[in-house]
């Protein structure tokens, strides 16, 4: 269970308030206009930005002051999700152990993850030799081996074509089930949210609404969402 307790974020004169809980195993989509603070909220949860006030709790434990690497979180950014100078295997391996000293079992887990995302045999390539879709798969393989219970996606697939993007989201959905983790993803597209998110929060006008079931929300959108969807 993730708890955002009276969280207030202040950045360049702009404030964002969030105060809700997210149950374990849920897939949450954050939807809202650009500039509303979706990415900023993810960065606070991940520990890259300190909140002005309030707390972030995971399973009742305060993690507000923890370093990003110490949180139970994997995150994919909009870009630079891979180190271009390291091989695919190294990039994934860093998710297992930051010193890359892998034992046999860990190496096997790495290979399994590669196979799982459909990149078997590409372990020694460097990211520059891969297509955009393949690069995304490498990043997802790392999420898989990291086995962190909370996964944050900050639109990592926005550069991919629609078909490829849907493939990736489907893969994410599957992986989340395998891990049994909780997902929070930023999205612009209602379809993306509807595809894998069972709950959705609207980020607009300085607040994050509490998660509501996605289907119900889109059937009967509140005003802020109607404004955003423009229908």
């Amino acid at each position: 269970m993730l708890t955002l307790e009276k969280l207030q974020i202040v950045l360049d004169g702009f404030t964002l308030d969030a105060d809700f809980q997210l149950e374990q195993g849920r897939n949450l989509a954050l939807i809202g206009p650009s500039g509303a603070g979706k990415s900023t909220l993810l960065n606070v949860i991940a520990g890259f930005l300190p909140p002005a006030s309030g707390r972030v709790l995971w399973r009742g434990e305060d993690i507000t002051a923890l370093a990003p690497g110490k949180r139970p979180i994997s995150m994919l950014f909009q870009d630079n999700n891979l180190f271009p100078h390291l091989t695919v295997a190294q990039n994934i391996g860093l998710g297992i152990r930051p010193d890359l000293k892998l034992n046999a079992a860990e190496r096997e887990a790495l290979n399994d993850a590669l196979t799982r995302v459909g990149l078997a045999g590409m372990a020694e390539r460097k990211p520059g030799q891969l297509s955009g879709g393949q690069q995304s798969r490498v990043a997802l393989a790392r999420v898989l081996v990291q086995r962190k219970p909370l996964v944050l996606l900050d639109e990592p697939f926005s550069a991919l074509g629609p078909a490829l993007k849907h493939d990736m989201l489907r893969l994410v959905g599957d992986l989340m089930q395998e891990i049994g983790g909780t997902l929070i993803m930023v999205s612009h597209e209602p379809e993306d949210a509807q595809m894998i998110a069972d709950v959705t929060s609207v980020v607009a006008q300085g607040t994050v609404t509490a998660p509501k079931p996605t289907a119900a929300l889109f059937e009967n959108p509140p005003r802020v969402l109607r404004d955003y969807l423009g229908s």
Binding site: A46, G47, P68, N81, P84, H85, P98, D99
Partner: protein
């Protein structure tokens, strides 16, 4: 993030090494003596010539590096390496090379004379500035070239798709980069020129061109006034420190985004006019920088056979010292650069090495060491250390932007993966700084080869370095053999630079 601990320790070590000797000299002198009017004139002249030299080097480096950054032609890498040569030449070799071109009976005046035009006179403030440009234009060019390559290719693609002209690209993409880079380049060159002595005196044409370092010489040799020498050394350090703080303040430009390490293609600079301009800029620069070198090489070849064996023994001594001080410079610079990621002012400490007066530094170290050990025994360590400190600012100037770029683009990813300490260094910062490390190691190594190791108080008569052996040959009338040694020095310095730089480039991964 990596903690700054080792960086602060390294910075403290540098401070101790620079100010410790100074304090000892003050203590021995029983306090400072105030400089006289002649000394203040020396301060004024030092600042004037250093400002002009740095200003012109930076301004001229912009078109040169721009031409190099946007043109591909056979031999480009070779040219870039060769253009670095003046920077690493021993001063006297370079000055003789320059005079062979610009001197009274040099090529330029012979041509002017032949064409019936009035000849030009190189001696004076303009000569000092010209020589300093010759030494430092290559450095400034390399700094800018590096910065130019940090503008991601995607930006130029975007500019091309917007059909931006060369002028618009300059304004939107290049000027912000120049504004962020120029102050740093300026301060490094200013600091180098501030303590110039041999060049300023030889080409300045007389005592009008007295620099602070010469005033220190006078205080030390003539009057044995250690207190005045130390006060002058402090003035020199403080001057450079003030300028450094200003430069760092204004060099905080916005950074540039990531972009993969691909070759930068330019769509805005395809017109014939711009091609010709770039070609002209490169040819003129190459002529200015390489012609004196060619003459050094020709002289050297003539004297090669006259070189005694001792010169080759000295080559080994120099190589060992050079590698030692390169390793030291890199370790110190890396630690300081990591600390400078948190607190930018730490870099200023690294700058102090080149402005500290060798004479005062050497005297202080000598006073510290002498009661306990034979200074000649420590000659190796002290020379290596002093050379490393001298190279430190250049290494920092190259390394810090590289580390900063890595942190900016991949810092969050590394944080998320919990890459801290050694793992972060090994898997993120060092590999991404490989090019910068190779280049700066090359600089440090070549620099140390060419340095005279002015700390004569520590001289070990048995193991002379190559530059010292060259001076000894000159002192014994053997100018031709000295020219041969100069060529050997040029070749070995450039060779070291080339090897390290090449190691840094390696295979391009992206």
């Amino acid at each position: 993030m990596i903690r700054g601990g080792p960086g602060y320790a390294a910075a403290a070590f540098v401070l101790l090494f620079i100010f410790g000797p100074l304090i000892v000299v003050f203590a021995r002198a029983g306090g400072g003596t105030l400089p006289g009017p002649a000394d203040w004139a020396a301060v004024r002249f030092s600042v004037t010539q250093a400002t002009l030299s740095a200003l012109f080097s930076v301004i001229l480096a912009i078109p040169v590096s721009r031409a190099l950054a946007r043109r591909k032609f056979p031999g480009r890498n070779m040219l870039i390496t060769l253009l670095g040569a003046p920077f690493i030449l021993p001063v006297i070799v370079a000055v003789l090379g320059l005079l062979a071109v610009f001197g009274r009976s040099g090529i330029l005046n012979s041509l002017l004379d032949w064409a019936g035009l009035p000849t030009v006179q190189i001696y004076g403030l303009h000569g000092v500035v010209l020589a300093h440009i010759f030494f430092n234009l290559p450095l400034a060019t390399r700094i800018f070239l590096q910065a130019w390559q940090q503008i991601p290719a995607e930006r130029f693609r975007l500019a091309a798709s917007l059909n931006m002209s060369a002028g618009q690209v300059l304004r939107r993409l290049e000027i912000p980069m120049i504004r962020a880079t120029a102050p740093g380049a300026f301060i490094v060159i200013f600091a180098i020129c501030l303590s110039s002595f041999t060049v300023a005196l030889t080409l300045g044409g007389g005592p009008r061109a007295t620099t602070v370092e010469l005033a220190i010489y006078q205080a030390f040799r003539f009057d044995f006034d250690l207190g005045r020498a130390a006060v002058l050394a402090v003035i020199q350090t403080v001057l450079a420190g003030i300028v450094a703080l200003f430069a760092l303040k204004y060099s905080r430009g916005e950074g540039f985004g990531a972009g993969l390490d691909r070759v930068v293609r330019r769509w805005d600079a395809q017109s014939a006019g711009l091609r010709i301009t770039d070609a002209a800029v490169m040819i003129l620069t190459a002529l200015f920088l390489l012609l004196p070198l060619v003459l050094v090489v020709i002289n050297g070849i003539n004297g090669w056979a006259k070189m005694p064996d001792q010169v080759f023994t000295a080559l080994w001594v120099s190589l060992v010292i050079s590698l030692f001080s390169t390793a030291l410079a890199l370790v110190l610079a890396l630690a300081i650069a990591l600390a400078a990621l948190h607190r930018g002012w730490v870099e200023v400490i690294g700058l102090l090495g080149i402005v500290s007066s060798p004479l005062v530094l050497g005297t202080g170290l000598f006073l510290i060491v002498h009661p306990y050990a034979d200074p000649a025994r420590l000659a190796f360590v002290v020379t290596g250390l002093v050379n490393a400190l001298t190279a430190l600012p250049f290494v920092l100037r190259v390394l810090i932007p590289s580390l900063r770029g890595s942190e900016k683009n991949f810092g969050r990813l590394a944080d998320m993966l919990g890459l801290t300490g050694w793992a972060r260094l090994r898997f993120l910062l060092l590999p991404r700084a490989r090019r910068a490390l190779g280049f700066s190691a090359g600089l440090a190594a070549a620099f140390s080869m060419g340095d005279l190791g002015v700390i004569t108080l520590f001289a070990d008569p048995g193991s002379a370095t190559l530059p010292l052996q060259m001076y000894r040959l000159m002192g014994a009338f053997r100018m031709e053999a000295a020219a041969g040694a100069g060529l050997l020095l040029l070749v070995s310095s450039l060779g070291l630079f080339w090897i390290f730089d090449k190691m840094g480039r390696g295979d391009v991964d992206a």
